[in-house]
């Protein structure tokens, strides 16, 4: 193996790819997509403002209205000295806003609904909280979300009113709502995992997993395409006159892989920047929030490791399969077996995200084609012994070596095959004679 030749091929493959419009567009679109993932929920929230249900309340005795008004304010700030807003468990961006009805005349209120000034109106009847009844007047039956929110609001407001009626002091009422103090003690010592952080890292692992999957598939296919392109443009004959097929294959795999790593790196980096930016803006933007600092280093390192291992494993196979055909349109059919394996790996990975400790996930995580993704999930989310991790990596390395050696043999005979795709028997026979 001549490393100068390998580097020359690598350099060409890398530069040709990162300079191509496709690569630049793909990278930018990916970054925009990531930014959208972080900011779109906030944007949707903003748009939702227009769809807030405005409900006018007719409550002559002011039994529940003050509480309702307080609850449905966009950001309920406790007024000093007054009763702090009881916790309702409702989200901050409430889709219901209560206001005092401008009139008590049902006909006038009906007109307001028809005009669209208000979405609906609520009539509170009775002079005591214990005997109050509510009537909701609207054009349409309220949707699931609205009606559950409505009853939650009314529930809280009515309880508040009843407590008052029963002569419970504001302080006593407050203590009713204070959450129970629950102390969690880890069994057998140690530190408890932060549930929140775990959900966050599961989300992150999911994003990284998709990235792993997409990049391996995309760039693996590019390796196959690259080989076929050299065959169909007949530049192959020139190349293998000058250098050995193994140098050509290795340089191509590494060059394209480096381009993939560049793209994934740009995506990850811009993802982190977006997250940081989001965290600075705070909750105002809503959406998925991940504390960047909480991303464990082992997760990122194992991502990088399995990214490289997984890519090499698959790319060698893609190169070998690509060398068997001579037209670009045949690439998909010849690489179909790898696509099927890939889909299987993806489905198992999605399952593993929710149950990384399942026995079959553990077993499959030692099967080389599955290892990169499953072992990554297990390292990031489960409890993986060092020996398991090392064994998985060693197996993938061994398999990569074997497959690359095998792929190089196929490649060696495949690169000069033109015309009909050879059968398995022909390939074996050719490999023996060359």
């Amino acid at each position: 193996m001549n490393f100068r030749n390998l580097l020359l091929i690598l350099k060409r493959e890398y530069l040709q790819r990162v300079r191509s419009p496709g690569f630049i567009i793909g990278t930018v679109v990916g970054i925009l997509g990531l930014a959208a993932l972080a900011f779109v929920p906030a944007l949707i929230g903003l748009l939702d403002q227009s769809s807030i249900a405005k409900v006018a309340v007719v409550d002559q005795n002011d039994l529940v209205f003050p509480t309702l008004e307080l609850l449905s304010k966009p950001t309920p700030t406790p007024v000093p000295g007054s009763t702090p807003a009881p916790q309702t468990g409702l989200s901050v961006g409430s889709p219901i806003r209560f206001s005092k009805a401008t009139t008590t005349d049902p006909t006038a209120l009906d007109a307001q609904v028809t005009n669209g000034d208000i979405s609906a109106y609520l009539i509170v009847e009775g002079d005591k909280a214990s005997t109050t009844t509510f009537t909701y007047h609207a054009k349409d039956r309220p949707g699931n979300l609205t009606s559950s929110q409505l009853s939650a609001y009314l529930n809280v407001a009515l309880t508040q009113a009843k407590l008052k009626e029963f002569g419970v002091s504001a302080q006593q009422a407050q203590s009713l709502y204070s959450p129970p103090e629950l102390k969690v003690v880890p069994v057998g010592g140690g530190v408890l995992k932060d549930q929140n952080a775990q959900i966050q890292s599961a989300a992150l692992v999911y994003v990284l997993l998709i990235l792993l999957y997409v990049v391996i598939l995309m760039y693996g296919l590019q390796v196959a395409m690259g080989v076929v392109e050299e065959k169909s443009s007949r530049v192959m004959e020139l190349l293998i006159t000058a250098i050995r097929p193994i140098e050509l294959m290795a340089g191509k795999i590494l060059g394209i892989g480096l381009a993939g790593l560049t793209q994934a790196g740009l995506w990850v980096a811009s993802g982190l920047v977006v997250l940081l930016f989001r965290n600075v803006l705070g909750d105002a933007v809503g959406g998925i929030g991940i504390d960047v600092a909480s991303v464990p280093l082992p997760t990122l390192l194992s991502f990088l490791l399995f990214f490289i291992l997984g890519y090499v494993l698959y790319a060698a196979m893609y190169a070998a399969l690509g060398s068997l055909v001579s037209k670009t349109e045949d690439v998909n059919s010849v690489t179909a077996p790898l696509t099927i394996i890939n889909v299987a790996v993806y489905l198992v990975s999605i399952y593993a995200l929710s149950d990384p400790e399942a026995t079959f996930v553990k077993i499959l995580s030692f099967v080389p084609f599955f290892t990169p993704m499953l072992m990554f999930i297990r390292v990031a989310l489960g409890t993986t012994a060092i020996w398991e991790f090392v064994l998985g990596v060693v197996l993938v390395l061994a398999m990569s070596y074997l497959l690359t050696w095998f792929a190089a043999k196929i490649y060696r005979v495949g690169v000069l095959l033109y015309g009909k795709r050879p059968s398995v028997r022909e390939i074996v026979r050719l490999m023996r004679t060359t």
């Binding site: 020359l8 040709q16 004959e237 006159t241 000058a242 004679t433």
Partner: protein, 337 residues
């Protein structure tokens, strides 16, 4: 292993079969160092397979291939320059970048490759093509780039598969001069062709192969002299404004039983036979009066005649096939009965 020497390329009993088809069989010939060597044969004769085996793209089933005494598989790759029959370049790359890349694969430094690529592009009037994509060039210019990819690293030994096909007359001239220049600089050149007049003009040596087997090889001048054959070539001018009356002349020649190799409106090429005197032919030409005799010459056979003769001796049926399928452009074999 043999010791290094100056013997050039030596093929000894080389054989290569694909599945059940024998592409090359028991091929033995020598390309002397520093020669311009023509590898002749019709389509499918085994020329490309032979070149590929020399370059170690294919490995022979049997036989040895030595370059200056060293097995071709062990010769440094930069020794060879190759122009494949199926032209192949990265179409999306820029001309300059592509030439630098390809010649650096043969060991040239980037700086040296850049310098030479600029010089050569200039010489082949492609000086403005450096930053253009290969696919934007005309076919002829792409071919020039392909030739440069084969010679930029100044290989000792160039193998060119049909280098002249697809070139217009001007570029043919440019390539011809380039090849002659390389040879004068001491490099060895083998090229395959079925353009026999080009081979005859350029090459010192030839090997003629047919259906994978060697028919004959050697210095072209030796082959011509050694054939023992002689041709009579005659040109006529129109007499009294009348076109040459070739029919009458051919009819008058019939008793002499001379094979006619080429017949045009104003010229005739015959093969001499034992017992026939040139004076007899000249007398007939004057008496049967096809026109005023402008040229009457006794010459050695052309390379094409040697080629056809060689094929005919080993495989009589093939000659007509070759002519019919157009593998022998200009090969009009008119054997008068």
């Amino acid at each position: 292993m043999n010791a290094t020497n100056n013997s050039g390329l030596v093929l000894q009993g080389v054989r290569k079969a694909f599945r059940n088809v024998v592409a090359v069989d028991d091929l033995t010939f020598t390309v002397p160092r520093g020669s311009m060597f023509g590898l002749l044969g019709a389509n499918g004769a085994g020329k490309t397979t032979t070149l590929r085996m020399v370059l170690n793209i294919l490995s022979p089933d049997a036989g040895t291939i030595l370059w200056n005494g060293v097995p071709a598989t062990h010769v440094p790759r930069s020794t060879f320059g190759y122009l494949p029959e199926e032209r192949g370049l990265y179409l999306k790359m820029k001309v300059g970048e592509e030439l630098v890349f390809l010649s650096s694969l043969y060991g040239l430094s980037t700086a040296e490759a850049t310098k030479r690529a600029h010089e050569w592009l200039e010489r082949l009037s492609l000086g403005d093509a450096w930053n253009r994509k290969v696919e934007e060039l005309s076919k002829g210019n792409q071919q020039k780039v392909q030739v440069l990819a084969a010679i930029l690293h100044e290989p000792d030994f160039m193998l060119m598969d049909e280098p002249f096909s697809g070139l217009d007359p001007i570029n043919t001239e440019v390539l011809r001069d380039t090849l002659i220049q390389r040879q004068q600089a001491g490099h060895t050149i083998v090229f395959s062709s079925h353009r026999l007049e080009q081979v005859e003009e350029l090459c010192d040596y030839v090997a003629i192969i047919h259906k994978g087997r060697l028919l004959t090889t050697g210095l072209i001048s030796d082959l011509k002299r050694g054939s023992g054959r002689q041709m009579v070539e005659m040109d006529f001018a129109a007499a009294n404004g009348q076109p040459a009356n070739m029919d009458a002349f051919v009819a008058a020649l019939k008793p002499l039983n001379l094979p006619i190799h080429e017949r045009r409106a104003d010229s005739l090429r015959l093969e001499m036979q034992p017992g026939v005197k040139t004076d007899d032919i000249l007398a007939l030409a004057l008496s049967s009066g096809p026109g005023q005799v402008r040229r009457f010459e006794l010459e050695e056979p052309s390379l094409q005649e040697i080629f056809i003769d060689a094929v005919q001796k080993s495989d009589p049926a093939a000659v007509h096939e070759l002519v019919a399928e157009g593998s022998l452009p200009g090969g009009k074999v008119l054997t008068e009965g």
